[in-house]
Amino acid sequence: MRWVVAALLVLLLLGWLQGLAFNQALDWPTIGQYFLNYDVLAGLGRTLLITAVSIVVAVVLGALLATMRLSDNPVLRGLAWLYVWFFRSIPLLVLLVLTFNLSLLWPTIDIGIPYGPVFVSVNTQELINPMVAAIVTFSLQQAAYTSEVLRASIQSVPAGQREAAVALGMTRTRTMMKIVFPQAFRVALPPIANDTINLLKSTSLVAFIAVPDLMYSVQQIYSSNFRIVPLLIVATLWYMIVVSILSVGQYFIERALRSSPSRVGRRTIEADPVLPDSATPDDIAAERTADAGTTPKENRA
């Protein structure tokens, strides 16, 4: 029965693929013609740039927000909460268009002390071009989500790790940087990789504010030659290729992290091969009993 179902499904898939491949509207020659088109590739470059900058800013800002959220200081905690609440509440597209039109709200951006002197004043319209608006929007919103991922990861590091570091005379900053973050990032990596893939695809929204990314570039082309489906397939294929590369990268990074055994039981325990020359008879006896007695227990752990 299982084989019958499987065969039927494979048959359906083959039939659909064949129909797709020979569909005249798909127009494979046009797809081939535009696949490596200069504008399409330049658009792909911008898509990658927005994604890369945004995820880096999001991780750094997110780590800062997560630390604030977990701090003892109620003001810092409150501000971090407010940030996450604000940026998670606004739909990405709304935020994007809003950022792009920031100059309508604030014609100039002033850097200075509130109610005090102004050091720098920039014309908002000149500062926020579509590309800047896109990067700012995606960075700020992604930081809100990444900070939540990092907060949970930091909390997943056992309290004993922090206590041991503090007991060795490490300052709080050092404890976070050297002991907590390295362990938290291992936990955070799969969800962050997932978010990166999501972010990459979400960047297609920048077409709304006329950033010539991958999506906007193919739109420009099909609005003049009307080959809508082939050009959308070009964009689809490129998104699929980049996502596949990211997924493979994620797989290898996760595998590398897994093989450095940060968690109990991921590697089997090898038996003590040679005892050190300097070991005393007591040490040897203790070692023997220890290793003889515990191997099964450790494998279980």
């Binding site: 206590e163 041991a164 007991a167 060795l168 203790a286 220890a290």
Partner: protein, 254 residues
Amino acid sequence: MSPFLQVTDVTKRYDDVTVIDDVSLEVERGETVVLLGPSGAGKSTLLRCMNMLERIDRGRIVLDGEELGWKPRKGVMRELSGRAEARQRQDIGMVFQSFNLFSHLTVLQNVIEAPVGVLKRPKAEAIAEAHDLLRQVGLDHKADAYPAQLSGGQQQRVAIARALAMHPKLMLFDEPTSALDPELVSEVLDVIKGLATTGMTLVIVTHEIGFAREVCDRFVFMEDGRIVETGASDRLTVDGATSPRTRNFLSRVL
């Protein structure tokens, strides 16, 4: 001369529960003191107060003439900054019940992390010393292993080496063998016994009465957050103890 470690009138509360109630205790340099008592007696909490992992609500703890967590300035006692508090903790080694080795670092990296990162010792020197310490606890051949690849007893011995690498004045042991399988207990106790003979000052919370009697100079029996009795190690028997409560406890665990 005032004692090496002086705990004076220390009280610790969690909300309304008083876990340590007006406890005073003195430990001389080079002395080994064992804290005994039923669970919930406040032994571990008292130990954690001794390196400021817990804040005390009243009283003072002075180590080697320096008050922990406070400093007089212009005639007023002021709380130390986080940095100064960390500085004081460098002199106090702590060994935890659950080992708490840094799981993302190898055995060697665990031992040198604080000497290099906190004390700024040259790395080569710290590595050489770490190998010496690991040899002392019989685990130099595991220097490149990760904590997850070691048995509990081995992890605890590494934790002891890690604490010793800071050259502490005082070592605190918080039930160092309670999380171990019975057959692994002796390898850790042997290392602690060895340490007691080197002149290091040790304060140990343990439930191993036989070990306590063997290793300590003095025992302190606690119950309900108070010290019931202190005495020399040879009095650590049902007949030797003075207080009926100590006798009662010992008769149940011996």
